[in-house]
């Protein structure tokens, strides 16, 4: 009973905030609604017993992606009204395709039956008596080592790509050179001079 109430509560907020994301006039509000939607989706995952996915959703999507969106929206001067201008013109075609896809999905949903092989062939059946974070940890670095390492390479390539496309070396700025600073020896640059009273200092 309580479960059902919370499920409908979270789902309703999720759907409403998702709607607000695409209808809000102010893009900053849209991003904030997106964050709200992520939180509610995370709550639904918790209710399903998938607390690891719930946490990653909050950490990755709310913590990183949504904040990044917020930065982009606030720092770049994007005219969202202009972006939305073609809406009326493209709505009939786009809407028709959307409806078609929705119909197809409903048709698939109608025919859905869990595979009779699902039980025995599930890639990683949930072991008894451990939390699902623990269970993921058990397979991630062993059974799924290969895709895990590949994912690492993909992230490396993304980093190389970002640097390749954006880093510019400018000659006209003075940069802090840490190794030069660390390598400075007091002996070379500091001179301690005893100053006799009444006399000047010759440097």
């Amino acid at each position: 009973m309580i479960e059902a109430i919370f499920f409908y509560l979270f789902s309703a907020i999720l759907v409403l905030s998702a709607l607000m994301v695409i209808t809000a006039k102010n893009p900053v509000h849209a991003v904030l609604f997106l964050i709200l939607a992520f939180f509610n989706a995370a709550a639904l995952f918790v209710m399903l017993g998938a607390e690891f996915i719930a946490m990653t959703l909050v950490i990755v999507y709310v913590g990183a992606v949504a904040v990044l969106f917020l930065f982009v929206v606030m720092m770049l001067d994007i005219n969202f009204a202009a972006l939305r201008k073609g809406m009326k013109k493209h709505l009939p075609v786009g809407g028709a395709v959307g409806l078609l896809l929705l119909g197809e999905l409903l048709w698939i949903y109608k025919s859905w039956t869990p595979s009779m092989f699902a039980e025995q062939s599930a890639a990683s059946p949930m072991p008894e008596g451990v939390t699902n974070t623990h269970a993921l940890g058990q397979v991630l670095y062993t059974q799924y080592l290969y895709p895990f390492e590949t994912a690492g390479l993909i992230l490396l390539v993304a980093m190389i790509g970002a640097i390749t496309l954006t880093l510019r070396r400018r000659g006209d700025v003075r940069r802090q050179n840490v190794s030069d600073q660390v390598a400075r020896n007091p002996k070379d640059v500091i001179k301690v001079v005893k100053v006799a009273s009444g006399a000047g200092v010759e440097l």
Partner: protein, 481 residues
């Protein structure tokens, strides 16, 4: 739970070595004081040579809990891909230096893309397939935009990235549907499950079609071809050459493995899709290329058409068909390398040109270059006794043997249309009055080497087709016994 197994490392040795050497090369490129592009580029070629040798004498088997498979098919396709990547690197070096776009990241990104392609070819589960696909795509987006000061290059990169992300989304959606209905991501298990009754469920069919759509995007088959002409035109020419050779071969290999592996039981369903895609690609490749004036755009449409012909073999869904696809892709890669070598030599007064009309008068000014280009164009048109003819012959034979008469007929008719624009290039070179004849003589020995090799291979394939045909046959038997 499977623990770390040393045997896995031996089966995947070429990939592991390539990854390690790419990382080492990246490190070298970063820590060396001066940007030494040429050293990094040639080291990358050496890395690819070592990888090719390791692939050639590699071990067959599965690794990493059946997620990775190495068989005769993967060995053959990887050799084509590695050779293609190496050729495009050799072709790129001088050009990039001349255009002041020689960045040390370029060879490193090519190496990572090649690694991704090898993982794609060896994928034996939906997860490893997707990882390979992404590892291949990401460097390609960056490479397309590598001349970040040029509007056309950045536009090409952005367009490719957005549409690539869309196709990734389609793939993931399809894969999750397929997983939901079969309960497995492993190709071998999926094949067993889909062999029986399950294949008629609409959900699986939808999932399979979505996966097919995503892979058709990667090979730029119609109706997922829109990005290809713009990206080919906008990207720097060596990058375009790379796009046209290695990733296409890898994506066709992946498509072949997916359709003959897990989805083999749904042959009825996917055959229709492949037939339609193939016909549309051949038609568009033939018709749309006629009006092009830019040689890179022309080659983009030509490659769309070639993908259509390759898919004819796949539509046959037989061992002979798969063999024909393999042979076709090999010949296609060789021809494209040669054609792009010519495009890379199109330089007038120190400036690169890429209009077809710039080729006018080449027959008199540089007879050797014009001859090589004519051979390549005649081969692409499928005129005997050049290699391109045999590629087409094998795919049509395979289609006719399986009763796909309409498809073969459309193929033959469109290749007649396509012959028009290939031969038009030959006509422009020999018979058109030039505004200013000839190109600057190229000093680039790498470019000449690739062009000579590809022209010879195309001309003399008829003399010694046996090695290619035999290995392609063995490779096809690894998929369809």
């Amino acid at each position: 739970m499977t623990a770390f197994d040393f045997h896995d490392m031996i089966v995947a040795l070429p990939e592991v070595k390539l990854a390690a050497m790419s990382l080492a090369l990246l490190l070298l490129a970063v820590v060396s004081k001066k940007e030494n592009y040429r050293l990094v580029a040639w080291l990358a070629v050496a890395v690819l040579a070592v990888t090719g040798a390791l692939v050639a004498c590699g071990t067959h088997g599965t690794a990493f809990g059946d997620m990775f498979v190495s068989d005769a098919f993967s060995t053959y396709m990887k050799l084509v891909v590695v050779t293609g990547s190496a050729a495009s690197l050799i072709m790129a070096t001088r050009y990039l230096e001349h255009e002041k776009a020689s960045r040390i990241e370029y060879p490193v990104l090519i190496l990572f893309a090649t690694l991704g392609m090898m993982l794609m070819i060896s994928a034996n589960s939906l997860i490893s397939l997707y990882m390979g696909l992404e590892l291949q795509s990401l460097p390609l987006y960056v490479l397309a935009a590598i001349r970040r000061d040029s509007v056309r290059s950045t536009e090409a990169g952005l367009k490719y990235f957005v549409l690539g992300a869309l196709s990734s989304g389609l793939f993931l959606y399809g894969a999750s549907l397929v997983y939901g209905f079969t309960g497995s991501v492993d190709f071998t298990q999926m094949a067993g499950i889909l062999q029986g009754h399950a294949s008629t469920l609409p959900g699986i069919v939808t999932g399979m079609v979505l996966v097919l759509a995503a892979l058709a995007f990667k090979i730029s088959a119609v109706p997922f071809h829109m990005w290809a002409p713009d990206v080919y035109e906008g990207a720097p020419t060596p990058v375009t050459a790379f796009f046209a050779i290695a990733p296409k071969v890898a994506a066709i290999a992946l498509l072949t493995r997916v359709l003959t592996g897990p989805f083999w039981g749904m042959m009825q369903e996917w055959q229709q899709v492949i037939v339609v895609i193939s016909m549309a690609s051949m038609l568009l490749g033939g018709v749309a290329a006629v009006a092009q004036t830019n040689i890179k755009r022309l080659l983009a449409y030509s490659s769309i058409g070639h993908m259509g012909y390759a898919l004819v073999g796949l539509a046959a869904a037989s061992a002979a068909g798969v063999q024909a696809v393999i042979v076709y892709m090999t010949i296609y890669a060789v021809m494209s390398a040669g054609a792009f070598a010519v495009v890379l030599m199109m330089k007038k007064d120190g400036r690169m040109v890429e209009d077809i009309s710039d080729l006018a008068g080449l027959g008199k000014a540089q007879p050797l270059l014009a001859f090589a280009m004519s051979v390549l164009m005649f081969s692409m048109a499928g005129i005997p006794p050049l290699a391109g003819f045999f590629g087409k012959l094998f795919v049509f034979q395979a289609a006719v043997a399986e009763g796909l008469y309409t498809l073969a007929l459309v193929g033959v008719l469109t290749s007649v249309v396509a012959a028009f624009y290939y031969i038009r290039i030959v006509k422009v070179m020999y018979f058109d009055e030039p505004k200013k004849a000839g190109f600057d003589a190229t000093e680039d020995r790498g470019l000449k080497f690739v062009l000579a090799l590809s022209t010879f291979a195309v001309m003399f394939f008829i003399v010694m087709p046996a090695p290619v045909l035999a290995s392609a046959h063995a490779a096809a038997l690894a998929l369809i016994p």
